[in-house]
């Protein structure tokens, strides 16, 4: 017992390493950057914007925002230290915002790689693309919210109701950028007067952002990526005849892929299993009748089959595969898998979609 005590006392001595002469003595002396915005200036320059939460209630503003133009991230932070009265630290970084122009320029990877390399930055830092300017979004006023830092943090936390968005962390970004079987996706946000909204998802082709998909397509992509929980979806059935509208709350979904493993004539069958409950229905069917009920199930199945096939067709036209269909062929392939093989498999791919839909309940009313 005495021995153990001595060991622990000695080990606690290792904590002395934590006290250094030049290091700040209290939280108030450190500016812990929560949000980092990057805007496009020209081919070699970018504009960095940092948002730092104010620690004390001494100031009216909940956050401080600093901006500078520089060639590299570290250089910009050193520049900003000259403006800031506190030491700037990236340890508390939560979200990195890039404006669309910067994302399309293909330089996002170099910035994210810098952050990924930095050991003081945590792994769950989210990467998003902003429609116009990250600086404008960060320095904007949001009177009904408690400051942009808390607001964006909460907005970009994965929750069941917003799972149409991919919630890309810096790890995911680097993973998808460097994995030849799939392309990168990020959420796409817009500033609309005094709110910020996730309006869609971006898809990259290698280093550059190329396409933008809306929330509905984003949800289907997530569905195909086998995300377990999905947000509710509004479905318009029978657009040609009497129109019906259904709101499905998904309880569980699963997707199975079966490939023929042949990269010269690739074919893939996709089986989707969906379970959900219906809380809103506008139409002529009487859902308490089992015939109408199963008819509705079939209609929803057909709807999803059509939508998924259309989405895959669009992805093929754009030649980007954020879902990673070719992973099902890579796992049967001997040798090094390359981007060219992914492109070849994806362009030749023939897909059959089948689907099993189960409606579990229709609420407590008849």
């Amino acid at each position: 017992m005495k021995n153990l005590l001595i060991i622990f006392l000695l080990l606690s001595g290792l904590l002395f390493g934590c006290s250094g002469d030049l290091s700040p003595s209290s939280v108030e002396d450190v500016a812990l950057v929560s949000l980092l915005g990057v805007d496009y200036v020209d081919e070699n320059k970018m504009k960095l914007t940092l948002a730092v939460p104010q620690s004390a209630s001494s100031s009216e503003e909940p956050n401080q925002v600093y901006s500078t133009v520089s060639g590299m991230v570290k250089e910009g932070i050193v520049d900003l230290s000259a403006q800031a009265e506190r030491e700037i630290k990236l340890n508390g970084l939560r979200v990195v915002l890039f404006n669309e122009e910067f994302a399309r320029s293909g330089r996002m990877r170099e910035v994210v790689e810098h952050l990924y390399r930095n050991p003081v930055i945590g792994g769950n830092v989210y990467v998003v693309v902003v429609k116009e300017s990250a600086e404008e979004l960060l320095s904007g006023k949001y009177p009904s919210k408690s400051g942009i830092v808390t607001y964006l943090n909460a907005l970009l936390k994965p929750k069941p109701h917003n799972m149409f968005s991919p919630f890309t962390t810096i790890h995911d970004f680097m993973y998808t950028q460097t994995n030849p079987v799939l392309e990168t996706m990020t959420p796409y946000i817009e500033k609309k007067e005094d709110v910020v909204e996730i309006t869609g998802v971006t898809v990259f082709k290698e280093k550059k952002m190329t396409d933008l998909y809306d929330r509905k397509q984003g949800q289907l992509i997530q569905l195909l990526k086998d995300v377990e929980r999905m947000p509710a979806a509004t479905i318009q059935l029978n657009e040609d005849r009497h129109s019906e509208q259904v709101v499905i709350d998904f309880v569980k979904n699963k997707v199975d892929y079966k490939s023929n493993g042949n990269i010269h004539q690739p074919s893939l069958s996709i089986i989707l299993y969906l379970k959900g409950t219906i809380y809103e229905y506008k139409g002529t069917k009487n859902l308490s009748r089992s015939r109408d009920f199963s008819e509705l199930e079939n209609e929803i199945q057909d709807y999803f089959k059509k939508e998924v096939s259309a989405l895959i067709e669009e992805l093929k036209q754009n030649e980007t595969d954020p879902i990673g269909f070719s992973e099902n062929f890579r796992m049967h392939y001997k040798g090094e898998w390359t981007q060219e093989l992914t492109d070849q498999v994806f362009s030749d791919l023939s897909v059959t979609v089948s689907m099993e839909m189960h409606i579990l309940a229709t609420g407590t009313l008849r």
Binding site: I7, G13, L14, P119, G122, G123, Y175, Y333, K334
Partner: protein, 361 residues
């Protein structure tokens, strides 16, 4: 206490001594070391476990025939006094370099992750104080510390849950996507992390149940192999091929995936707790080094321990050119391999010599 008794290590002590001397710093970068095999590396730790277990057989076989000898005294006995001493001197030098390499590797990591922009001398001194304190208690104190380290760190495997959820199990296929050369390179780099069980040749005379030492040693080897296996499987699932190649400490990134509402930066805590694993490894090696010095000077003096610690401390602080250091630490592999295969040489000598010995006595 039982300091006067010669035999003091029970079965549990042997299991955890073997297990903890193997898991030092190697685990931190294992998936990166095995990278030449790409995604197919995940089953390699199991194969390395089999190899380790096979090489344990000659060690135990030999020392069961010399139950009161350790490797140093046996070297002198079988190879002659002067040649034996020469081999032992070589071993002690190797141990100094080896302990320096792991302590330095860990301190570099602490410098990067937990204590950036700070001088490392202070923590280094405290580290050595703890190390000396543990070794001072003898092999049983090291064994007990190993048991404690094991239980203080093994629970961290729970944090692999997050990367498993995010990972893609399809990466595990195809199983055999590599060439012979890639496999050899991965095995060579990976075996670095397996060594440590060979120290059983030094503490063998202290084991109470020597006949069951092989079983206990094997259990230790397999605990390590399974931990290694788990970590490589999760890494393969979680990383892209580029990340497998570029991320030097994959475990750090795996810990960074953890999302807990009440705890941030598990990676910093993990690396700090790693000091236990490192202390148990370094203390076992240091004790073995001290035994070596004892046998070289034919006496048992406590100051040998301090002498070794000072030599290691100085060695760490000598500003070697980085290239030279890397080459030196890398070439140690062949020495390690030689030590693991050494019992076979001794067995050969043993098989030739005894006839003479028997006729003389």
């Amino acid at each position: 206490m039982d300091n006067n008794k010669r035999k003091k290590l029970n079965g549990y002590h042997v299991v955890f001594l073997v297990q903890n001397t193997m898991v030092g710093l190697g685990l931190l970068s294992l998936p990166n070391k095995l990278n030449s095999m790409g995604y197919s590396q995940w089953w390699l730790p199991l194969l390395l476990g089999v190899i380790a277990n096979l090489t344990l057989i000659p060690m135990i076989w030999l020392f069961l025939r010399y139950p009161t000898e350790n490797l140093y005294t046996l070297n002198e006995k079988l190879l002659g006094k002067w040649f034996g001493k020469f081999v032992n001197l070589f071993l002690v030098l190797y141990l100094i370099i080896f302990i320096s390499s792991i302590v330095e590797g860990y301190l570099d990591l602490i410098l990067i992750v937990a204590l950036p922009d700070r001088p490392i001398t202070g923590p280094l001194i405290v580290f050595f104080l703890v190390l000396l304190y543990i070794v001072h208690g003898g092999i049983k104190s090291i064994a007990r510390f190993s048991i404690m380290s094991f239980f203080l760190t093994i629970w961290m495997l729970i944090f692999l849950y997050w990367p498993i959820i995010e990972g893609d199990p399809r990466h595990l296929l195809p199983v055999s996507n590599f060439t012979l050369k890639e496999w050899l390179q991965a095995s060579r780099n990976g075996y670095f992390s397996m060594v440590g069980y060979d120290l059983i040749m030094i503490y063998f005379p202290y084991i109470i149940h020597q006949k069951r030492a092989f079983l206990h040693g094997s259990i230790g080897i397999w605990i390590t192999s399974i931990v290694y296996f788990t970590v490589t499987v999760v890494s393969v699932m979680y990383f892209s091929p580029w990340q497998m190649e570029e991320v030097v400490y994959p475990i750090l990134k795996l810990y960074k995936a953890v999302e807990l509402s009440f705890f941030e930066r598990i990676d910093v805590m993990g690396i700090s707790l790693w000091v236990f694993l490192l202390l148990s490894t370094a203390s076992a090696y240091l004790w073995v080094g001290k035994k070596g010095l004892d046998s070289l000077r034919n006496n048992n003096k406590t100051y040998h321990l301090y002498l070794l610690a000072i030599l290691i401390f100085v060695f760490i602080n000598i500003p070697f050119p980085k290239d030279l250091q890397d080459i030196l630490y890398d070439q140690i592999f062949y020495l390690k391999l030689a030590i693991i295969l050494w019992p076979n040489v001794l067995i050969l000598v043993h098989l030739i010599r005894p006839k003479k010995g028997r006729t003389v006595t």
